[in-house]
């Protein structure tokens, strides 16, 4: 008993028949063999499965694949087409922003989405009220706050913040470091 759905994953067109209960995460991993997003909880509590859906960072374990007909999905792997590392990937490597790496694809997608949000001027709870609008300045506190949906049990947070700062500095204000 399947349902047809059309998805664009990391730039590739896919037509799938999925169970109505199949999440985007399971569709990616079990149906398409895209092992980039990880399953840490299956309940939207850890961020390991974070992908970009039509440019927004979302937990793919909380999305039903059937509801996403026509969506464009980018995984961390898709952010590095043909192994060409993005500024973010490069910064994560240079700052040793991971240990086991299990949370990393989610961290990268989350960071890519977050840089875009900050560039678009979307405030977080730590953004000063007096902020005049325009791109939010990415202080360490802003990065920590905005990256707190992605758990890292290995405890690489200090280095993750450094990596996101490095990537943001590479293309200031554009939110394009993930590309």
């Amino acid at each position: 008993m399947g349902h047809p759905v059309h998805l664009v994953i990391d730039g590739q067109q896919h037509d799938l028949i999925v169970d109505a209960r199949t999440t985007l995460l399971d569709a990616l991993r079990d149906h398409l063999g895209n092992m980039s997003p990880k399953k840490g909880c299956d309940h939207g509590q850890c961020g390991a499965c974070t992908v970009l859906v039509d440019g927004r960072r979302l937990n793919s374990c909380l999305l039903l694949a059937v509801s996403l007909d026509g969506a464009e999905v980018l995984t961390s792997e898709g952010l590095a087409p043909d192994g060409e590392l993005s500024d973010l990937h490069q910064a994560f490597l240079e700052q040793d922003a991971f240990q086991c790496g299990y949370c990393t694809p989610g961290q990268i997608c989350s960071a890519a989405g977050m840089l875009r949000e900050a560039a678009d001027g979307r405030p977080s709870v730590v953004t000063e009220d007096t902020d005049p609008g325009g791109p939010v300045e990415l202080t360490e506190d802003e990065i920590r706050e905005r990256m707190s949906g992605n758990l890292c049990r290995c405890g690489a947070y200090v280095n993750i913040v450094a990596a996101v700062q490095q990537a943001a500095a590479a293309q200031p204000g554009t939110g394009e470091a993930g590309r």
Binding site: R21, C100, E145, R153, I160
Partner: protein
């Protein structure tokens, strides 16, 4: 749906001694969350739905799931550590001018690696292959094969990458056995089972609760004359595991009259197991907090108190210490942290509604090397293939062993092809007890030496040698431990009690640091988990049913990015020739040891409130 497996039709195990692994053998239920059956299906959705449809009827028997240190069934652990009893502690306590008598507790803590435990199994005839995530393929094989009634050679375990373990993948748990049994029911077919995050709280081990009662007698100059620690940890009737909180107290500080005892209380709850620095991490919570209280009682700086109780010989074994540089860590750490500017009075610093304080605690972890690891080196098409069944849990084994092999063979790292995580490779000991790299690295170095001796500097293709890590004879003659010091600054919000760790600094003495980059990350990771231990982590056991109520990552809190601010890591530049040819002691665990106590001590300094039960909650600091 394909199949429902229960105790009625599962494979009869050859050995049911291990209550945790002997699943689906009879009708008994040891604890809530135990495996009672399995549903096999073609898709995970169907399997999960099928499992929901299964009805289980139970008879309720009396059970006990409430941990208390004064429970009548508290008893000695089977095969546990011996009691320490020297001198006359009661007389020494009675004579002591200063006595600190306090009880501390640590709760259930759950490893929660980000990668849940997952196994894929397939039986081909009488041979079983497991693709899984484990901290030791060979030890797992050694544990599972006899229970399944097969020879070790009939079981292959493959685990080249591990998404974090922190001890929870150190010994095989029931999920691996369940997958093997399920696959047995469909020979030749591949069965995959991923433990859900919720179920990990019952199946994959956790750090049991501890109660630590200290009574310390000292002279007015801070010299400890009497030292009593009575520790009790929670355990399971299904399988016994003591959390030996007494371990660090045996060797940390001097004291003539000593009594140190470890007991446990078996309950009808899930089976506890290793979690990062079992024994040390929990034991240093109590010890380093009671030392802080003793310093306060004596009017001494906490670092000075530790200096005055620095033992000459190991109080536990009577052996000389090997490179005990605790005081160097405390003093150099203090210098870097700016400890000297501290006003020792509690509740002395207030800024914008926040009370600010600083605290210190020692760190320690035993240094040892496990004998028995073997490595094989083979020259293939100009590349040195180095094979050993070691594990990389994010600890950097792939990098560090490549580096060790390259150094030992005196070639570029690019010329090394490392192979790990497979029982078809030479035997390796477990990645546990911070022994991994020292043990495997010693085997790789031995293999490299043999290789050069047998094949010279211009070996021909196919040349091959093996080497083995022997026992370290120095461990018989020296008390070998790593040491460290944690410094923390915390802020506690006066009206809400909210507590933040503003900055932490760790200073470690761990022998030679093989890869500074991955080592720093290891220390940082340990300290980060220490923040969790201090402020967040607590499995809430329901005494009625014996399960952990907050069994997911929304309710069981671990540190998130915003909880971690400035963390600094330093180490003493040293080598430890006694530890072995690598000159290195382990570093995977010491980063967490003492970290929580430093934070708790800082919270006391900030507020004047002493909280002796972890984790610290905001409500602890509000006026009563």
């Amino acid at each position: 749906m394909a199949l429902v497996l229960t105790h009625e039709d599962a494979l009869r195990l050859a050995d049911t001694e291990d209550g945790e692994l002997a699943i689906l053998q009879d009708e008994g239920i040891g604890f809530r969350g135990q495996y009672l059956g399995a549903v096999l299906a073609e898709t995970p959705e169907t399997a999960r739905h099928g499992a929901d449809l299964v009805e289980i009827t139970t008879d309720v028997a009396p059970h006990d799931a409430h941990f208390r240190h004064d429970h009548p069934q508290v008893r000695e652990a089977e095969g546990g550590a011996d009691d320490v009893e020297t001198g006359d502690v009661e007389a020494a306590l009675a004579a002591a001018e200063i006595v600190v008598d306090q009880r501390y507790s640590t709760p259930l803590e759950h490893n929660n690696p980000m990668e849940p435990h997952t196994t894929i199994a397939r039986w081909d005839g009488e041979e079983l292959t497991l693709w899984t995530s484990t901290q030791g393929v060979h030890p797992a094989r050694q544990a599972l094969a006899p229970i399944l009634g097969i020879e070790p050679e009939q079981l292959r375990i493959i685990s080249p990458h591990v998404g974090g373990g922190f001890g929870s993948k150190g010994v095989p748990h029931a999920d691996m056995m369940l997958t093997a049994l399920a696959a047995r029911a469909v020979p030749g077919r591949t069965v995959k089972y991923a433990v859900s995050r919720q179920h990990m709280f019952a199946i994959t081990g956790y750090r049991p609760a501890t109660s630590q009662h200290f009574r310390i007698g000292a002279g007015p100059d801070g010299t400890i004359t009497a030292f009593v620690l009575e520790a009790v940890s929670s355990s399971s009737h299904t399988k016994e595991f003591p959390e030996e909180a007494i371990k660090p107290s045996r060797q940390m500080y001097a004291g003539e009259h000593r009594r140190i005892t470890q007991r446990l209380l078996p309950l009808d709850i899930a089976v506890p197991s290793w979690m990062r620095a079992p024994g040390e991490a929990s034991g240093m919570v109590g010890l380093e907090m009671v030392m802080d209280e003793l310093a306060e009682a004596c009017g001494l700086d906490p670092i000075e108190l530790r200096a005055r109780n620095e033992p000459v010989l190991d109080p536990d074994t009577g052996l000389p210490f090997n490179q005990r540089r605790l005081l160097d860590c405390l003093r150099e750490g203090a210098e870097r942290f700016g400890w000297a500017e501290r006003d020792p009075r509690p509740r002395a610093r207030r800024e914008g509604g926040w009370l600010i304080g600083t605290g210190v605690a020692s760190a320690t972890y035993p240094a040892s090397r496990q004998p028995g690891s073997q490595a094989r080196i083979r020259l293939t098409a100009g590349s040195y293939e180095v094979g050993i069944g070691a594990a990389d849990l994010g600890t950097g084994t792939w990098t560090a062993l490549t580096q060790v092999a390259a150094d030992a063979l005196e070639v570029d790292p690019e010329q090394i092809t490392l192979q790990i995580g497979d029982t078809s490779l030479p035997n390796a000991t477990v990645a546990g007890g911070s022994t991994g790299l020292a043990s495997w690295g010693t085997a790789v170095m031995a293999a490299a030496q043999t290789f050069r001796r047998e094949h010279g500097r211009a070996p021909s293709d196919g040349a091959e040698s093996t080497g083995e890590a022997e026992e370290n004879p120095a461990e018989e003659e020296l008390a070998m431990h790593s040491y460290g010091a944690h410094f923390a600054q915390v802020s506690v919000q006066e009206t809400t009690g909210e507590i933040r760790v503003d900055r932490m600094l760790g200073m470690f003495s761990a022998g030679r640091i093989i890869n500074p980059r991955t080592a720093r990350s290891q220390f940082l990771g340990g300290m980060t988990m220490g923040v969790g231990m201090a402020l967040h982590e607590k499995g809430e056991l329901d005494p009625r049913f014996g399960h952990v109520v907050n069994h997911d990552l929304a309710e069981y809190h671990v540190p998130v990015n915003a909880d971690i601010r400035s963390l600094e890591v330093h180490w003493l530049d040293e080598e430890d020739p006694q530890a072995g040819p690598l000159g290195a002691r382990g570093i995977g665990e010491i980063g967490i040891v003492g970290a929580a106590a430093a934070i708790a001590n800082a919270a006391h300094h900030a507020t004047g409130v002493r909280v002796r039960d972890l984790p610290l909650f905001g409500s602890d600091f509000l006026p009563r």
